[in-house]
Symmetry: D2
Subunit: 317 residues, 4 copies
Amino acid sequence: MTSPRLPLRGIVPPTVTPLDRSHRLDKGSFTRVLEHLLDGGVHGIFVLGSTSEVVFHDADVRREIVEHAVRIVNGRVPVLVGAVDPTTQRVIEHARAAKDAGADGIVVTAPFYARTSQAEIADHFRFIRDAVDIPLIAYDIPVCVHVKLERATVATLMREGVIAGLKDSSGDEGNFRYALMDAAERPDFFAMTGAELTADCALLMGAHGIVPGLANVDPHAYVRLYEAAGRGDWAAARAEQEHLCRLFEIVRVGLPRTSVGAAGVGGFKTAMMLLGIVDDNVMALPQRTLEGSEIDRVSEILKSVGLLERAPARAAV
Amino acid sequence: MTSPRLPLRGIVPPTVTPLDRSHRLDKGSFTRVLEHLLDGGVHGIFVLGSTSEVVFHDADVRREIVEHAVRIVNGRVPVLVGAVDPTTQRVIEHARAAKDAGADGIVVTAPFYARTSQAEIADHFRFIRDAVDIPLIAYDIPVCVHVKLERATVATLMREGVIAGLKDSSGDEGNFRYALMDAAERPDFFAMTGAELTADCALLMGAHGIVPGLANVDPHAYVRLYEAAGRGDWAAARAEQEHLCRLFEIVRVGLPRTSVGAAGVGGFKTAMMLLGIVDDNVMALPQRTLEGSEIDRVSEILKSVGLLERAPARAAV
Amino acid sequence: MTSPRLPLRGIVPPTVTPLDRSHRLDKGSFTRVLEHLLDGGVHGIFVLGSTSEVVFHDADVRREIVEHAVRIVNGRVPVLVGAVDPTTQRVIEHARAAKDAGADGIVVTAPFYARTSQAEIADHFRFIRDAVDIPLIAYDIPVCVHVKLERATVATLMREGVIAGLKDSSGDEGNFRYALMDAAERPDFFAMTGAELTADCALLMGAHGIVPGLANVDPHAYVRLYEAAGRGDWAAARAEQEHLCRLFEIVRVGLPRTSVGAAGVGGFKTAMMLLGIVDDNVMALPQRTLEGSEIDRVSEILKSVGLLERAPARAAV
Amino acid sequence: MTSPRLPLRGIVPPTVTPLDRSHRLDKGSFTRVLEHLLDGGVHGIFVLGSTSEVVFHDADVRREIVEHAVRIVNGRVPVLVGAVDPTTQRVIEHARAAKDAGADGIVVTAPFYARTSQAEIADHFRFIRDAVDIPLIAYDIPVCVHVKLERATVATLMREGVIAGLKDSSGDEGNFRYALMDAAERPDFFAMTGAELTADCALLMGAHGIVPGLANVDPHAYVRLYEAAGRGDWAAARAEQEHLCRLFEIVRVGLPRTSVGAAGVGGFKTAMMLLGIVDDNVMALPQRTLEGSEIDRVSEILKSVGLLERAPARAAV
């Protein structure tokens, strides 16, 4: 069985999951996140990616997130859903739930914790494809799963029709380029990168989409970047990218008091709190939440790139 | 709240999970595995460790495994249960289920997929300890979770009474030695190693227990090794260990057709099938199962170390 | 003391070192390599980089290589020289020899074998700068030295005037972009990348130069790529880049019979032999040299990208 | 040509290289180091290992070190000499110089900086063996050369008679055990470990020798440990080992102000300075030297383990 195609192009932010102080999904804030992204002109929404703290949520919360996103987005753009768990059968359960909840496609990593080979990883995708009839996108994220989807694995799955697309968060731009060249033979294949700092480069190479966590904070800039690239105005694309690189400094503010993971998503959430998009910047436990002078530092960065015009509300108290 | 102590010493095999050709738990074989281990004289049973393919099982299968093990073991030795999933709250759910099903202690890794810091990892254990009143053993397995439990993290958790023991599968014997020296101040702490090839060394260093996947195949040899060490007969312990090292060659037979993970547990299962302990050597998907000449090679190894006296049943057909 | 500036921009190939069957420098072939590159329109020449098998050559051979290159190039373009050895004082000796032999700049890695910190690495560059008055370029190549030059280290050395440039072979394009943004404050700083597959991207990001080993085979294409980027014709730049990506497949032909290192440089040398630029494709020992069907496969790749129009001479024998 | 055998067993410390404040070899201190070790009862001396800061020394200094060691040791025990540089031909030059200066054996790593395969590494050893007629010991130190000597590579070289011994500083005790089991067929093979913290374990496994950097500080304890193991008194061996583990804390004192490398050897040198064995604790540049409160902390550790009975001279000023 081959994967249905997913006619998607553009900016597809992986949404953060706003939590309240009891670590429960804050639906009001989540609605504002989605509207903020749609207002920014994004071309798709990706929920339950790594940026959403996906592995911290159980099946019930995941379903709640997907259903809420589908209801709010309401067909304005496609909704991709991460089906992320260590092994095949458990991913299939998430994939079925995502489909039932209205997902337009699912995004799946290699198995993790267990150490599998490229041949076993390919079978993993084949089994999922056979079990759930929904566009399947391979998610290459070695920093989390500690194995790379090799070029040959991706190409094989693409040629077999097992996968409809690739989300490359591997940081290996040379290999991603080869994936794009391989994908030239399948015009409906959807290859996107998670690289926040080189979106203009990815588009120059022919990437079909960008999935930047940072777009939670400034979706407009990524959309402007995408549009500039689309009309061949690479100088404008580069200028937007450099603005976003300066903004991306927020992901280091929490270090080393927090982990790399908590600093990154925590930086996004803190900026969004300061911008009034979410009520709180709290992270799923045991991750640490940015606080005190860290919040001030995020605020300074926002002001330095023009996203906050004046002292944030917090400082005004 | 401090962890209850667990007065455990000795050989504590991490059981394999026998599956049938439909990839369902084969309870008959599992009963034979447990009786085989108890006949071998083991001092505890550890279910739902990495050797059990734990992350391949959903909550229902995990409960089934624990309940079956508890019923069969029936108090003859303690039953430890792995509560292995990517994040804190999900581990707590598994831990509660394990306790309800009769576990004597739970074994917990650092978070995985998410990248957490040592401080966040320490909180992970503290939250679990506060949520479930059962002896908590820290499971250091960087080859699966890709972070090491640092010496200071383990020592802090031990001193706070958060953890009752340590299962060290890190391969860092020098650091494990420091953990044992740190543990000297807590006589009821239980520090064990998963190192199949250096059990005699670990006991010489003062380890309280060994958790060798290979004991599924030959529990008697590990028990003899442990007893020899206990009476100070290190030459006998070493001889048993070298026998086990020769047997351990079965974990490489599947390579490179299968992954490292499937070759290891698959080697155990294949040997157990040849020894008549389990009906089948099938692995959870998408892992590959040893077959054909691979099975013959495992058989040769078993014969070369004296565990199979004659041509295996399979060859006699 | 601050480093003299080096007013360099463009394509600066790291030359291979042609050897004869006795593993001695083949000066005739080396002359042809240099003329081939200059005919291709390159803007600088880099000898004794990793592509030159630099660590295989002792001080005498290195001097011979530099003197020969300086004599042949004869001022047509600047000649950069790698001063690569494990530790500071030994690098200083190489740097002095390079300067004496007429180098226009030296290229220096972090210490290797010894494990040094970022602070110690920064001092390494400062000591070299103080010892030899020649433009100093930092060479970030973690795949060989197993430590990354962190962004802050490079920025500090740039601001202090210790280094005149950066050659980034780290594969971390996001970090390289930050280096380029940091370098905006020093208009005479020279930041180049070794990435063969994303030269167009690097130029889009503002890189001043490209140092591609593959340019030994096809310097013209890299020069065309550079010129297209310079006039803002990014579609043409991308087309050249994709041609070069297809050509770059030659670096995998030797695998796994040879090492990654020998396959890469060996792929270049084999193609150059087939193109008549060098007499032999022999590698410094103990590296293995491509042979037999491997040579045929390189030939096929050359033909498939239009660099060899007909059956190679070898096949015609 | 097969390697001559080297009938060596026991404690073979890798000597530090005492430097004066001008970073020149301090021969007076070096004499005292050697006499200190011989007084301690060691069975061999290993100069120009990693602990000697070998890669910081050029050929002249290396020759000076070997000649001085050979003259002082004067046949009382064998003198092994590291021939450590990135590539084969350069190692051969060092090996010849070492032989000429009176070495009893040479110790050689895999190539580094260049990335070579196991097959190429095996050839590296074969070429060296063919070029220099002296016992050749393979030095497995992936933390410096970033490649492991695989079990099969070592076994092949042993069976071919290319190597007379193995120094394993890989930290992989299970693999080392296999090497020892493989070596059982060659009674004159000499397999030693560099593991400071598990010398008793290595001897239990059948290791022929220990090469502990820490023996520079306390050779007597390692000799006592070795002798206890020899007479089967494993409790005494373990007690000595635990004393040495407590002493080994000196290698962390410099962190994170210095690198891991400088903290380790710097810890040894600082302790030796406090014990009056060397005049200074200075490290080869760009490594940082322990100072101020770091020296005080090393002093405290020495006192806590009974090696310094009273306040050190420095504090008495």
